[in-house]
């Protein structure tokens, strides 16, 4: 068939004329918008996502409020002098001279969220209460994402028995729900800021490692990586120059969705009475105290405000964080990350 087709001959269709002449119009293939880089495009999409931007504002507002709620002093030097919260979160107000404040006062103008079991101002406590959980959330995600990235990159890049051993260990970590592992670690190390960071970092990195390894296995087959190897680039530079940037998108999605998980987890340990000293102004720890009163109900009246406000603050923050996470996911066109196990903090 093909030889017979060859018997029709076309002459005079001179394509050189197209390449040699000047453009006849302003139109050119480059103006079709395909040139925008992936990240720029993602940023533009994210900015246009109203839900995600609302999340950004809420998270920023809550983080700033908790930071500026009370002065921050590091080693005796005040680094943050502002004080938005009307009262000191740990001052027991009814012990103050001339005070009319009691325990479990309902919300009033002076105490918009009422007072707690020890007569402390709940509004001030809720404002300050985000400091610990929010900052632990960001620190843990920073640590785990970095470590998981390196771990997964090594496993995926080298493959073979290195991969086999490294990933078996990841499987072992995955056999424990994150919260249970964190609980056991906190039980052993005791509570406090850094023990909690450790407790949530130990189970947290495995998810990133598995994700990055998978991404790298698929990116690795790309020609430019093979080309770089053929040109004799060193392993490390191949991993970090070529592979990692491509595997970033799903990592960022996972990280933004994980912050909420850690914040809930920290609050959960606080609620279980394992995270911090009782009385610490931290959202979860504050709820631990109120559980007792819910179950007994002091003298018939129920101090609902002591439950509603601290928990509502956690909910609001995590919700806003997840709105950002979903927005990042849509903007980067990454696949939906399962994010199994939020709410349980695991």
């Amino acid at each position: 068939m093909s030889t017979e087709r060859g018997r029709i001959r076309v002459t005079g269709f001179d394509t050189d004329r197209v390449t040699e002449r000047d453009d006849l119009s302003d139109w050119s293939e480059a103006t079709t918008g395909g040139t925008e880089s992936r990240w720029r495009r993602a940023l533009r999409r994210f900015r246009h996502n109203r839900v995600a931007m609302l999340g950004v504002y809420v998270v920023a507002a809550m983080a700033l409020l908790s930071f500026f709620a009370r002065p921050v002093t590091i080693a005796g030097i005040t680094v943050q002098p502002f004080s938005i919260a009307p009262y000191d979160p740990s001052t027991i107000l009814y012990l103050e001279p001339g005070s009319t404040v009691g325990r479990y006062d309902p919300p009033t103008l002076a105490h918009p969220m009422g007072t707690d079991a020890s007569g402390r101002d709940l509004f001030s406590r809720v404002l300050v209460g985000g400091r610990l959980s929010i900052s632990i959330g960001f620190v843990v995600v920073g640590i785990t994402a970095t470590f998981g990235l390196a771990y997964g990159a090594v496993a995926g890049y080298y493959g073979g028995w290195v991969d086999e051993i490294l990933m078996r260990f990841v499987d072992v970590i995955f056999a424990f729900p994150g919260l249970v592992l964190a609980l056991v670690i906190v039980a052993l190390l005791g509570g406090g800021y850094w023990p909690l960071v450790i407790a949530f970092s130990v189970p947290g990195w495995a998810g990133y490692a598995r994700l990055i390894r998978g991404e790298i296995l698929s990116v690795k087959e790309n020609e430019y990586v093979l080309a770089a190897q053929a040109l004799g680039a060193r392993d490390r530079s191949v991993i970090f120059r070529h592979i990692v940037p491509n595997a970033m998108a799903p990592l960022i999605v996972q990280a933004s969705l994980s912050i909420g998980t850690v914040v809930i987890g920290v609050a959960a340990l606080g609620f279980l009475g394992l995270g911090f000293e009782p009385g610490t102004p931290e959202w979860g720890t504050m709820l631990d105290q109120t559980r007792e009163t819910l179950i007994q109900g002091p003298g018939g009246s129920i101090p609902w405000w002591a439950t509603v406000f601290p928990g509502g603050a956690i909910f609001l923050f995590v919700m806003a964080m997840n709105m950002i996470g979903d927005g990042v996911n849509d903007a980067l066109d990454a696949q939906e990350v399962g994010n199994v196990g939020q709410g349980g903090g695991g």
């Binding site: 068939m1 093909s2 030889t3 017979e4 087709r5 060859g6 018997r7 029709i8 001959r9 076309v10 002459t11 005079g12 269709f13 001179d14 394509t15 004329r17 197209v18 390449t19 453009d23 006849l24 119009s25 139109w27 050119s28 293939e29 103006t31 079709t32 918008g33 395909g34």
Partner: protein, 354 residues
């Protein structure tokens, strides 16, 4: 008898980057029992045209205007239930990529017989028998035992045959074959094309064959429409198209057919690529790639006209082209020439095509 007549069909896609006019003011007709070719490069809007015929354009796409008269009735005016009784029953489609068109989790046989049960009210056993006959008819060996196989257990060629069997399952009057052979190797391609031709004759089915291969068109079509950037640029009976093409794009496509055993001439491909339809060049959309383009081509959009008279073409016209040459707006000449060497290929090939 005219089986299908399409008038002024326009289909838009509302994408993030802007409105894409994938099919722009398209008109053509298909007679009962004939084989009609639609040719064009990737992105010309061929598949969108095909899906429009079954009203299967999905979000973010929309059929903006026009009419699709099938046996005299406008498909675009039909209710959901009415159009469903046409789909698969009177108009059936062979998809471009058989592998993705088959549902991976149901057996091939089930996917064919479900249409038979639905449209023809066959019982399970009757539908099974008919499916096995069809599978056998399209050349799947040992059809009875392959009935329960999953798509991934079929080779590419067998998947394509299964999809053909599926399309033929309810004796449609019109078969839309969307590049039925692009995913296949050359030998399988030839066999499948022969088969589509035979089956169309046997069942007296009209075929709209979509392809980007003019060789395939020459082999089995009677009339052809060439599309560029969502618009028809030339319509002609197949012999005319070959021996006397009127549009520079058609000529470009012909000169880019590989010539085996002909080393005198290097392969002439059309420079550049089909434009992204979000941003179509002004004037004649082909002008950035056309060797004969002039200033006026970038300003005036050439209408589809009868090349002899310069009068506007309608769906009934057999010969039409959209180039400023035929409206008298082009200063230069279209200096291409088609010559035939040796005996006439179309007579041999064309003869057994009919």
């Amino acid at each position: 008898m005219t089986l299908l007549e399409i008038n002024d069909l326009t289909v838009n896609f509302y994408t993030e980057d802007g409105v894409v006019t994938a099919v722009d003011d398209l008109s053509y007709r298909i007679e009962s029992g004939e084989t009609f070719g639609v040719v064009g490069e990737s992105g010309a809007g061929k598949s969108v045209t095909a899906l429009s015929l079954m009203r299967l354009i999905e979000d973010p796409g929309r059929i903006e205007s026009g009419e699709i008269l099938f046996k005299g009735e406008d498909l675009l005016e039909m209710s959901e239930a009415e159009i469903r009784s046409v789909r698969g029953n009177e108009i059936a489609m062979i998809f471009q990529d058989a592998q993705t068109a088959l549902n991976p989790v149901y057996s091939v046989g089930e996917q064919i017989s479900e249409a038979i049960r639905h449209h023809l009210n066959y019982s399970d056993a009757e539908a099974r028998d008919r499916t096995i006959q069809l599978l056998d008819r399209v050349g799947i060996p040992d059809a009875e035992s392959r009935y329960d196989d999953y798509p991934h257990e079929f080779s590419g060629g067998m998947q394509q045959r299964a999809v053909i069997a599926m399309a033929l399952s309810c004796d449609p009057d019109l078969l839309i074959a969307d590049e039925p052979t692009t995913a296949l190797d050359v030998t399988t391609e030839a066999k499948i094309l022969d088969q589509i031709q035979d089956l169309a004759d046997e069942f007296d089915t009209a075929v709209q064959l979509i392809t980007h291969d003019l060789g395939v068109v020459a082999k089995i079509c009677e009339r052809v429409m060439v599309m560029y950037a969502g618009r028809p640029v030339e319509k002609a009976p197949v012999e005319d198209l070959y021996y006397d093409p009127k549009h520079p794009y058609t000529v470009g496509l012909m000169s880019s057919i590989p010539r085996i055993g002909d080393e005198r001439d290097r392969l002439q491909t059309i420079p550049g690529t089909m434009p992204d339809l979000v941003d179509v060049p002004p004037g004649c959309a082909f002008h950035p790639r056309c060797p004969y383009a002039e200033e006026s081509c970038a300003q005036k959009q050439p209408p589809l006209v009868d090349p002899e008279t310069g009068d506007a073409a309608t769906a009934a016209d057999d010969r039409a082209a959209a180039c400023l040459e035929y409206t008298g707006d082009l200063e230069g000449e279209l200096e291409f020439e088609v010559s035939v060497e040796g005996e006439d290929p179309l007579l041999e090939e064309g003869q057994d095509a009919r």
